[in-house]
Symmetry: C2
Subunit: 480 residues, 2 copies
């Protein structure tokens, strides 16, 4: 295998899509499965998901959410119980028709999402106000047959996600929950993955079918396309009525309950790759990196090898004591240069280089992946590594914010909108609130309303399309 085959052979600017696919495959995050549109996660990819899951689990749990398990098979009759909801998924459903040689009676859908299944059970489990709020989350996969071109993490026919489903006695409490979850989502994505997000509502056209309204967080990717990073839905009583999710209140009168559902998926990993990666490959935010510090020992003969390896082990021990995930690359048959490239491709936040001369000077070389800078650190300064990792995490978010701001423009003139749309970006533009204008803009520019930010009400402008009075300044963009 020559070096070309191992490293990334195309620049991020030149061909973003090809660059992305190369990073995913060559950094060994994921690979294609034999069925078109499906991927597998290799350990380095899955460990990022595990890290996110652990963080979310802690935050969900603090908010009183517990985890459960739902099977993947949903009878067709059940899926169709909320008509609008069903229609939204109909073309994407995988259908099981046989078990062994036998035809199954009612066809079985592979879960595109579990509202209908969960609420059938909730209606049994909930009798009175004492059983509420009920907050259960499910870590599983959803299956939606993709017709469009698929892309690892971004568009696949099966994807890892979590789906939370909560039930409340009052509308107010349910709506509060929707926002609490959205806030957990936003903070986690910003703090763990170093990706800034914009939160707000989806338009009626773009909301989750079956929801009263959908709140969302959206990010702008470096190629100018928008990515939906997670959604939190207020379901109102849209499901509690057909599924009879009812409770007897303190006055012993039965009411339909108020519900929410919400989810994030492994798309977040795709967003992380796109936001931070560079021409050398992946760049991992320290908080989710499976290895945070890799030590590459440099030596020419057995004598220097022994010294260097002993020191490397010593540094590893010190760092592990500080809970830093550290690895010594002791592969004997590979050159330091090969190793540097390898760990850069894999995006490990810090590389420590140590050779006989460094030992003499009692220093190490610290190479930080995100900015590709090298500095020297004395042996007695190794305790500073955790601070450096924190600084990296912070700086990566700041850089991503600047990047996102550059890609965000306020545009009030439709011809400017049209001439700029090819370049991509978030366009903040005044809108009258009518679906007709939204549809026309989509038709003519392929741009959607991605999010109506929470603070974007504005009646002082004119709709960018029809020139009537605006109600808000949504963010328009072409999306993934």
């Amino acid at each position: 295998m020559n070096k070309e085959d191992i490293g990334i052979t195309i620049s991020k600017k030149e061909d973003f899509s090809e660059w992305y696919t190369q990073v995913v495959l060559k950094a060994k995050l994921a690979d294609y499965a034999p069925v078109k549109g499906l991927i597998v996660l290799r350990p380095d990819g899955y460990s990022i998901w595990e890290s996110l899951r652990n963080t979310f689990d802690k935050k969900f749990s603090k908010n009183g959410v517990r985890n459960g398990f739902l099977p993947v098979l949903i009878p067709e009759s059940l899926l169709g119980k909320e008509q609008k909801h069903f229609a939204g998924f109909n073309p994407e459903v995988f259908w099981v028709t046989h078990s062994g040689e036998n035809e199954v009676g009612d066809r079985l859908a592979l879960r595109p999402t579990s509202e209908t299944l969960a609420y059938t059970l909730y209606s049994k489990w909930i009798q009175s106000w004492r059983d509420l709020p009920l907050k259960i989350n499910f870590w599983n996969t959803a299956l939606r047959a993709e017709i469009k071109a698929t892309k690892p993490f971004l568009r696949t026919s099966e994807f890892l996600w979590q789906e939370g489903h909560t039930v409340h006695t009052t509308k107010e409490e349910a709506e509060e929950e929707v926002l609490k979850i959205l806030d957990i989502y936003k903070k986690t994505v910003e703090e763990e993955l170093a990706i800034p997000v914009t939160t707000g509502k989806k338009s009626e056209k773009e909301k989750f079918v079956g929801a009263a309204y959908t709140t969302t967080m959206e990010s702008i990717m470096p190629d100018g396309k928008a990515l939906q990073m997670g959604t939190s839905h207020f379901l109102g009583q849209n499901f509690s009525k057909p599924f009879e999710v009812k409770f007897a209140d303190k006055d012993n009168i039965e009411h339909f309950a108020w519900q929410t559902s919400w989810g994030i998926s492994w798309r977040l990993i795709g967003a992380m790759i796109m936001t931070h990666g560079d021409d050398q490959g992946l760049v991992l935010p320290p908080k989710v990196a499976p290895i945070q510090v890799v030590i590459v020992p440099i030596y020419k003969n057995e004598e220097s090898k022994n010294k260097v390896m002993t020191k490397s082990q010593e540094i590893l021990d010190k760092l592990e004591l500080q809970n830093i995930r550290t690895h010594v690359d002791d592969r004997d048959e590979l050159s330091p240069g090969y190793k540097f490239n390898d760990w850069e491709l894999k995006g490990i936040p810090i590389r420590i280089e140590i050779g006989p001369k460094d030992i003499e000077k009692q220093t190490i070389v610290v190479a930080t992946r995100y900015n590709r800078e090298k500095t020297n650190l004395g042996f007695d300064e190794i305790t500073k590594i955790p601070d450096i990792l924190e600084k990296i995490q912070h700086n990566m978010l700041e850089a991503a914010k600047i990047q996102a701001e550059k890609n965000t423009k306020e545009i009030t003139d439709y011809s400017e909108f049209k001439s700029n749309i090819e370049k991509g970006g978030f366009f903040k533009s005044p809108w009258c609130g009518k679906i007709e204008c939204e549809e026309k803009i989509k038709e003519e520019t392929s741009a959607d309303i991605r999010v109506i930010p929470f603070d974007s009400e504005d009646s002082s402008r004119k709709c960018i399309y029809c020139q009537e009075q605006s109600i808000s300044m949504p963010i328009f963009a072409r999306g993934y």
Copy 2:
């Protein structure tokens, strides 16, 4: 709802099967899904699974195993590549034939197990000895359409499990791995779930189709039936040849690799329920209990309520500082008696009762679930609770061992074998090693060879069936 509906209405002795189902449903561990043979896990059930998963993950990781993700859909052509293996699952496979309105070309199987999918990928990922050993584990579900009567946790058409798949350069290393994993399984089940297991090999007839041999751990349940608790397979080169899992060795010559696969499932939760539960309901080993200590405050008026609640909170804080999962049952509208029954049904290891008189005496009542005993503890002795929990864990395993020993008999006479088989139990009996005898015994008594214990080689006896020279003393039993 009357009390009868809430508590367990049948004794474990009287109708074990009905008792089991009541415990599962009434302790709110699981419920039936709308599709026959499928169940859902409620938070109290799922948290036991999470606890086991965390423990296994730590041990797997120490052994160099990392986690990954595989999709649930496997093309029919791939599944059939190892013929014997495929034949074993054929009647149980759920088939996807359509996505949306469109027929899929090659039918898609819902994963009954992932050997064929994993090894297709492994053959791409492995080039040289440097890539080995490769050890990846997958936490997912397997789907096998059950024709027999289903039972929560014990026999369901979709079940939570983990499947580990490792690849090695040598036969010896692979065989060592098989035993390392079996040892992790055994220790975890004994230490966490307090269930003793017997380890050994499966007979040729009972091994995993496609394996060179299967090692297993088996337990005897209180009703005298055997339960397979987990298996670790040596696959030899049975899969590496058809799937071309090859590596170039240091000498640059290509070899077929040596492989293992291994799994445990949520069956372990079923075993825990059966082994420890009693007529009052579930009995949870402290290590896997979602709540380890529940505090029930007892009061008659507002004044005593305040005092008792303050003290309860104080005890909770102290226990949480010691990392004990503690809960105060502050439900106002329910009587202490109701609460006692409720927490007994749910199997919480320790219940602390505290009322105004206890406060005067500076004591609490500690009720231990597994033996239903009550003792008094001074306020200054609350630090002893962690020790008590450990003692409970220990005693539960000891009690289960005694129970298992009672259910294990050495039987060398076939007529005694036949007359005892109805009562159930593990029968250690001499066997000649021939499949014909094994099949005849199965035919005439419904008893299988569950496990040939590692230390059971014995050529000094006569086969219980044909009277020829024995080779070992396997354990025969009727199984789940």
